[in-house]
Amino acid sequence: MISGRFKSLLVAGFSVFYLFFSTAVFGQEDSLHQAAKKGFNAKEIIFGHVLNNHDFHILDIVGDNGEKHPISIPLPVILYSKQRGLEAFMSSHFHHGEQNYRNYMMLTDEKIEELKLDPNKYSAQDILAVNDQGQIDPSIRIYDISLTRNVVQMLISLGLFLWVMLAIAQKYKTGQGVKSAPQGSQSLLEPVITFVRDEVAKPNLGTSYEKYLPFLLTIFFFILINNIIGLIPGSANVTGNIAFTAVLGVISFVVIIFSSDKHYWGHIFNPPGVPLGVKFILVPVEFISVFIKPFALIIRLFANMVAGHIIIICLISLIFIFGNMNKFAGWGTAPFSIAFTIFIYLIEVLVAFLQAFIFTMLTAVFIGQAIEGKQHQHHEKHEDSMLA
């Protein structure tokens, strides 16, 4: 038999031998890339869903000559720049980036390639100021405050949320559910609200939970309803937008800071029972963690939602990617892909609830840590449910 040392020498020799072939593949990489792009561009579909758009894109009709006719609901575009002032118009005037309107141009992926713009600085759906000949004017800085897809969807879910909640509150005011058993939508929401109060607010906030309960309930239901509506096919990805989650994180941070007292800051800058040498390391870490904790809230919600959406779209795109190579491969991939997608979709519904709950629970935990000092004065025992 071949000895052990000779075998490992053979393995090493074969690995180096294959390495030489791997470079040749890179040489062909670009042409392969181009062919896949013309047929089915999965990247465009993924980023078109996950990022923000100036219209509600419903579907594309591919004509006989391969031209795409997109069908979409246009949304208002509101632009402000110092040189040109405030301008507002519908995004349908751009005709999906084919025409310039009032000396503004909307970028698409093809235009970025055509005009050789830097893809790190410019992305699709950006609006740039152009002069009459159609050349980009880089001196004008545009503030894009339009009603984009995410904003409109957020307002729709906000309206839905307010409508449901106010209707239920009205029912409670007339005594239904207080003196008699709750009915209808009351019995849907009352267990959830009681859950947030008993499992999230009371254990973490102690006796002063009533002050923070409206805030926690609002955060919970707002994130939940935006998550759920974002899962409907064709809708926008509101919670998967870093700006949205950043605002929620900043609001939580402000609430935490405003409810902290000197016991909290005393514990951060002068932790009790810690030797002096360790304090030098611990105090900067503790101070930075005051900012890192809300930042983690932001990233957690954003990354979970974006990852879920991307996985679902990728699994469905697999069908089309294989279908472009070979029609029967596309049909064959369809059952597996759809089965996986349904599985991931159910997990995403669970993740929608879970992420709303986790955001609320962690905000409650951090507020509880901040108001802890007052609790020490009222009770002698320390709350066990708070995690460091």
């Binding site: 670009d30 957690r300 990354a303 979970n304 879970l354």
Partner: protein, 81 residues
């Protein structure tokens, strides 16, 4: 050599991002698996505390997953930037 470096840079950045995200998923799997193991053993020892244990398990799992998602976002940035 320059042409080769240019041709290699984007695929290697993509590969680096993908490998990093995959390793982060391994880390998340190991971490959450340990949390599940501890939680299930604790419930086996004391079934009446299962509600408290479940709440703590979900909370800790979300924290661990948050850390893993940091790494996945960085992997994504490596591919895009």
């Amino acid at each position: 050599m320059d042409l080769l470096t240019i041709m290699l840079s984007t695929p290697i950045a993509n590969a680096g991002g993908a490998v990093g995200a995959g390793l982060a998923a391994v880390g998340a799997g190991i971490g959450i698996g340990q949390i599940g193991k501890g939680a299930v053993e604790a419930i086996a020892r004391q079934p009446e505390a299962s509600n408290d244990i479940r709440a703590n398990m979900i909370l800790t799992a979300a924290l661990v997953e948050g850390a893993a998602l940091f790494a996945i976002i960085v992997g994504f940035l490596a591919m895009v930037l």
